[in-house]
Amino acid sequence: MSAELSGSVIVLSICAMVVATGIAGVGALFLKKGARGFELHPKKLLRNRFLQLGIFFYALSVMIYMALLHYLPLSLAYPLSSIGYIWVVFLSKRYLNEKITMWRWVGIGAILIGVTLLSFG
């Protein structure tokens, strides 16, 4: 990769990373929807469309993530991947009517800081 390209490539892959974490969040949302009737029974597993959608979105996000790891350093990729927690909070507030208390924001903030420290330290 040439030196002058790398800057824009990194910016692009950061954007792609944000999208990938969003896809992972949607996957988690579907998994939660599918968890309601989840049982370890082959018939039920085949009928659980939400579960299948959730796994599909999850796998999609993992594939994008793997591809992006070629362009991004790990110290950047790890904190970016934890943007997914923020996505999930907004999604579960909008679609699952979960109440996001102040303590949850504090917790997610601390986790974001912690992951950043872990990858830079």
Partner: protein
């Protein structure tokens, strides 16, 4: 002018003045013409509630149906708490500790699986490398982790459980220290501490249902109900019915 007329004029003047003084308030107040619907019904009709005319409204001007729809995500046993003050329910949270523990075990499994898969991919990548035992074991661990995650999500909220997945970062870091004998700088220790503090904060108020009562003695106070659905004090016969529906298997 007689004394009586004089007195009447005087009192009219006073009333007029007081009316002028209070007119600012009177304009703000909602004046109901005789024979109109109650304020509650008007409010319900504005909200588009279908039971507005039949009068089957609870104290918040909502039909039972509308109230239940608002709290549909709650376990049935706890729904009555939220329905009783449906307009004032500020928070409805319930995530069992078992669910959080399950997610923690799940992250340990996925971290192990990731390491195994990485080992299996080392060296030349060919078709035969897909059949190495490390990769197969990693896949099996992933499957077990997914099943555990589903059982955890069954009894918990996504916004609490999903961030717990960040424990995986801690497992990987500790693994690299104890298995690969890498050094751990102070900043990384701080990062681990931060993640743990964050998870504790997430779990802090997540095991109970919170309703805020707007007025009265308990204004703004937070009342807690455990996830299992023991009714709060002052419960009525409706509570019994709800616990019965719970036994019939209606739950989150």
């Amino acid at each position: 002018m007689s004394r009586a007329t004089q007195r009447r004029n005087e009192s009219e003047r006073l009333v007029g003045r007081s009316a002028r003084l209070t007119s600012g308030y009177a304009e703000k107040r909602e004046v109901r013409p005789p024979g109109a619907q109650s304020v509650r019904a008007v409010r319900a009709e504005r909200a588009g509630s279908p039971g507005a005319r039949t009068g089957l409204l609870n104290r918040d001007g909502l039909t039972r149906h509308a109230a239940n729809r608002r709290t549909a995500n709650l376990p049935a046993a706890n729904r009555h708490v939220a329905n009783r003050k449906s307009a004032s329910v500020a928070a409805k949270t319930s995530t069992s500790r078992v669910a959080m523990l399950l997610v923690a075990v799940c992250t340990l499994l996925t971290a192990t699986a990731q390491v195994l898969m990485k080992i299996s991919m080392a060296g030349d990548v060919s078709f035969s490398s897909l059949l190495r035992w490390q990769l197969l074991l990693g896949g099996v661990l992933y499957a077990i982790a997914t099943v555990l995650l589903m059982f955890a999500l069954k009894r918990g909220e996504l916004s609490v459980l999903y961030p717990i997945v960040s424990l995986g970062f801690i497992w990987v870091t500790l693994g690299s220290v104890f298995l690969l004998h890498e050094s751990l700088p102070i900043l990384r220790w701080l990062g681990i501490a931060c993640i743990i503090v964050g998870i504790i904060a997430l779990g802090h108020d997540s095991t109970r249902i919170i309703t805020r009562t707007p007025g009265g003695k308990s204004g703004g106070r937070v009342r807690g109900v455990r996830y299992r659905g023991t009714p709060v004090r002052g419960s009525r016969s409706r509570d019994l019915q709800d616990s019965r529906t719970k036994r019939m298997g209606v739950r989150l």
